[in-house]
């Protein structure tokens, strides 16, 4: 048995680790003096000939071989040990025992395509080396070109320039307008009753006959910060709304309406009508998640019309492979990061789907917008997820899969997300036509998140409908969900980087901007829960306002301890980005 390779790997004390352990931030460790000297002397062709010998197995590691089945033997002891290094300077091969004796310093671990410093006795890292490895790996995956794997994002996905947030204060003219055109809400100033101690805007909603499925989602939406801010800051003009949408309403009723009524009530009104007029089969015991989708859809259509936004806002090109979807009415929809309406601007993210040929590694990529992520509850008998595809190991050498609690049998939201983004082997009945092989091949599919929305909604698939067995059932199993959630491991940049061996390289979506780190951090603000049976259950919503949790059970709103929320049976969880960045706003008329 060859020597334990671990004794060669030790931590270099000069490296300062990233205290925040962000998964998207690749820290390039400073080179040891030997590597630095080596590179200084050689410039761009530092690793030269050996890089021409990179072999990439389909979906596998990069290794260095001058000939396909070359076996490397140590020039000192003639052993073909588990870990051998090829010197970059003289191409001599040494094993880990004899490496320190070699006259040159920088070598390559031939089986792993990793740089090794013989003097330090440690694995070292270099950006140029990693880039060359990745380019070899991606050439195999993409018919020779890089396209979706490593090109910089096209124009429409690059962030508009960020600006610093400037709070608005009225100038003297605006103050005068405010004084003459508004009045304080009643009961605010010196009302000492208990009713003035709760947050403004927290109201119960009457149950109008099994409408808790609507009430629960409405509560979450009413308190979704960007959505709430949008409507409360009057970004939606009611007069335009009335004129443009008269066709959808009973004109007699509309004319009688009190013009002082708030626009949001008007919108909600229209949505109630739309919901009951046939969008859902019947109002009884409807699914809250379906209602959520319908709500966003309703806001989209409504606001879209009002603000005259052309449907192809954002000039989406085919670079990203966006699918142009046709609705039943024949309208083409182009969804980018939600320039179409406030609902999509808040909730719309982009999912990336990669299908990889297991024979040659060719990868086909598509992007799809999504307003939420529906997750399967991992069944109990599955236990810890398959570890073969996991490359995230904790740094203390523990090789156990870190699926956040699976070892204890508890299902967790992060475990579901791990499952959602893991490579999945498609069945032999689902062979995919590989453009490179020109035949149908077995393939792997992997999802990742190309762009995170402002608000992430996770829907847990607790309702199972089996058309085979003609039955439906509800899965009551508890799902642990965090109050604070870091989404960076599920980003396309992280998933791709992991797929290609965690090299120092900017993968799809990683633009190296340090500020991006904080856009992956989310905090929980609403949880829609379902209790009871599939056909006779009840929805309620927990809301967090000013760091206090409330339970909204139709018209019954109570303060609750956060423990109650943590222990609740989550059906839909709403997370908002901790850091919101601002772009310069468009000019507002008037």
């Amino acid at each position: 048995m060859s020597s334990n390779p671990d004794h060669q790997i030790h931590h270099n004390r000069s490296f300062v680790s990233n205290p925040q352990h962000q998964s998207t931030a690749v820290i390039v460790p400073p080179p040891c003096s030997h590597l630095e000297e080596f590179k200084a002397g050689r410039g761009a062709t530092a690793f030269g000939k050996l890089l021409e010998c990179i072999r990439v197995r389909p979906l596998g590691r990069a290794s260095v071989r001058r000939e396909p089945n070359e076996v490397f033997r140590c020039s000192a002891c003639r052993q073909a040990s588990q870990r051998v290094y090829a010197c970059v300077s003289c191409a001599a091969v040494v094993c880990d025992i004899h490496a320190p004796d070699h006259e040159h310093e920088i070598a390559i671990d031939v089986d792993r395509a990793e740089l090794f410093c013989c003097s330090c006795g440690d694995q070292v890292y270099d950006r140029d080396f990693d880039s060359a490895i990745v380019l070899s790996q991606t050439a195999a995956a993409t018919l020779g070109g890089c396209n979706s794997l490593c090109t910089p994002p096209p124009e429409n996905l690059r962030k508009r320039r960020r600006v610093d947030y400037r709070p608005w204060t009225p100038d003297s003219r605006e103050r005068a307008l405010l004084g003459t055109n508004s009045s304080l809400l009643p009961g605010n100033d010196e009302d000492l009753s208990s009713s003035s101690n709760f947050p403004v805007g927290l109201k119960g909603l009457n149950n109008l006959g099994n409408t808790c499925f609507m009430n629960s989602v409405l509560q979450a939406l009413l308190h979704t910060p960007p959505l709430r801010n949008y409507f409360l800051s009057d970004r939606h003009n009611r007069f335009v709304c009335q004129q443009k949408n008269g066709v959808h309403r009973n004109k007699n009723e509309r004319n009688n309406k009190n013009p002082q009524r708030l626009c949001l009530a008007c919108d909600t009104d229209a949505l109630f009508s739309a919901v009951f007029s046939g969008n859902l089969a019947s109002y009884e015991q409807q699914d809250a998640h379906e209602f959520f989708i319908s709500m966003l859809d309703g806001i989209h259509e409504k606001v879209d019309k009002d603000e005259h936004k052309p449907h192809s806002q954002g000039a989406l090109t085919n670079d990203l492979g966006f699918r142009k979807t046709k609705s039943a009415s024949g309208r083409l929809h182009y969804f980018s990061s939600g320039d179409c309406c406030i609902a999509h601007r808040v909730f719309s993210g982009i999912l990336r789907s990669d299908v990889m040929c297991t024979a040659c590694g060719f990868t086909s990529t598509t992007y799809d917008p999504c307003v939420d992520i529906s997750l399967d509850l991992v069944p109990n008998h599955e236990g810890p997820a398959k570890t073969s595809t996991k490359t995230h190991h904790s740094c203390n050498g523990n090789a156990e899969s870190i699926n956040s609690g699976h070892s204890s049998g508890t299902s967790t939201l992060m475990g579901c997300l791990d499952r959602f983004t893991r490579p999945e082997r498609l069945g032999s009945d689902q062979k995919f036509f590989c453009q490179q092989c020109q035949v149908r091949q077995e393939s792997l599919k992997q999802m990742s998140i190309r762009k995170l929305p402002l608000v992430s909604c996770f829907h847990i698939k607790r309702f199972e409908h089996s058309s085979i067995r003609k039955m439906s059932r509800k899965v009551d199993r508890y799902l642990q969900f965090p109050f604070s959630l870091d989404m960076s491991p599920y980003l396309s940049s992280s998933i791709l980087r992991s797929r290609f061996g965690n090299r120092i390289f900017g993968f799809d979506g990683a633009d190296g901007n340090e500020a991006d780190e904080s856009t992956s951090e989310f905090e929980l603000f609403a949880v829609v829960t379902h209790t009871g049976k599939l056909d006779a259950g009840h929805y309620a919503t927990y809301l967090r306002l000013s760091n206090q949790w409330y339970k909204c059970d139709d018209a019954w709103v109570t303060q609750v301890n956060e423990n109650i929320v943590r222990a609740a049976q989550g059906y839909m969880m709403f997370y908002v980005q901790k850091m919101l960045y601002y772009k310069a706003s468009e000019k507002q008329s008037g």
Partner: protein, 108 residues
């Protein structure tokens, strides 16, 4: 296949997941569930609560208002079934522009 190289790279490049935070969340959730399962814990017993509006029991939706479609007086708790019948006739089905992510994940 040993994982020493991979772990070394992940650690050195600062790519390890923040296990501390994840474990803390797990611990808090487990603790919360344990506390609520404890019968001596008064938090779990929500019988004698007062809501934020000072009411001592959940209100019944007994208000009566006029239907904005037909003008009749309907009691709130029966408004939804009424509206369905009232508006249901003669309406075209609305088109869904928004798809849920299950469709995106399943469609290829």
């Amino acid at each position: 296949m040993d994982v020493a190289s991979e772990s070394h790279r992940i650690a050195r490049l600062g790519l390890d997941r923040n296990l501390d935070d994840e474990e803390e969340e797990l611990r808090l959730s487990a603790q919360a569930r344990a506390r609520l399962a404890d019968p001596s814990n008064s938090e779990a017993n929500s019988k004698y609560v007062v809501d934020i509006f000072g009411q001592t029991h959940p209100p019944v939706a007994s208000e009566i208002f006029d239907c904005m479609n037909c003008g009749r007086s309907i009691v709130a708790g029966r408004f939804a079934p009424h509206l369905e019948k009232c508006m249901g006739k003669g309406r075209k089905a609305r088109v869904k522009a928004t798809r849920s992510s299950t469709a995106a994940a399943q469609n290829r």
